[in-house]
Subunit: 133 residues, 2 copies
DNA sequence: CTTGACCTTCCAGTCACTGGAAGCTCCATT
DNA sequence: AATGGAGCTTCCAGTGACTGGAAGGTCAAG
């Protein structure tokens, strides 16, 4: 399989696959023409990485997960630990974003949004921290 | 005022202030010794940028907002537009993160987390897209 | 034999900083 | 007056995870 096919079937862009090879996440063989050759196993790994990334795992997490995946004798506790840590980080991000959103929404609601120059959004940014609103 | 004082009073690290000067967000004057000299106005702008950044505005947003801020004849509608767009982006991010979190939480709950190699998290990453769970 | 799609490498850019090295300046203490 | 340390300067490089583009080799169809 060439990189284009793998890209299409795994949903990971060709450019990104080359990058993943650079950083050692996948190791396709090479044909006589210099083209990368992918087996099912590599396709599988790429799809795995794609799904893990879409769940918010970092590249390093992926590396760990793939190593665990390759390790027949791994303990599921180890995998769970990685996932749980990720879960906490996601929760923290959501909380932060929610706080931002609430502040912004309040400001947007306050703003008349017309042709007049008077704007509570700028006023707030100018006068004090968001949490004072 | 030297950069250290401004950093402390604005809450923006000195390193970051230099970066902001590089990209033209602030324009401190220079003393005979080559040190940057900050007036109240610059301090004010830096605090403004810091608050806007903490609300999730990008640097380019900040540039726009500062221009609007400087423009006595701006319409608040313009400011509101920038803020509303930001609000939508934040909402989208929150939704995405929530979906990720729900999937992950389910997986973590399913995982026994013990010494056995059988792990539903890896199984799921391996077998199909997260939204199929 | 040509065209065009697909592949290769390499370099640079993204975003918003952050770290570090080398060297200058200022102020207080000895 | 010398010294020491904090604070300032510039410049270079790295972060994460790609992404874009140029220059050039390869392959399959017509």
């Amino acid at each position: 399989m060439n990189i284009g096919d793998v890209a299409e079937r795994s949903g990971v862009p060709a450019k990104t696959i080359r990058y993943y090879e650079d950083i050692g996440l996948v190791k396709p063989t090479r044909g006589r023409n210099g083209y990368r050759e992918f087996e099912e196993r590599e396709l599988h790994r790429l799809a795995f990485i794609g799904r893990a990334r879409s769940l918010g795992f970092t590249i390093e997490d992926c590396r760990d997960l793939l190593a665990l995946y390759d390790d027949e004798s791994r303990a599921s506790a180890e995998v769970k630990r990685v996932a749980e840590q990720n879960l906490q980080e996601i929760d923290a991000k959501i909380s932060g974003l929610k706080a931002m959103r609430d502040t912004l929404r309040y400001l947007v609601e306050q703003c008349s949004g017309d042709h007049r120059p008077d704007c509570p959004i700028l006023k707030s940014l100018s006068n004090g921290p968001a949490h004072n609103l």
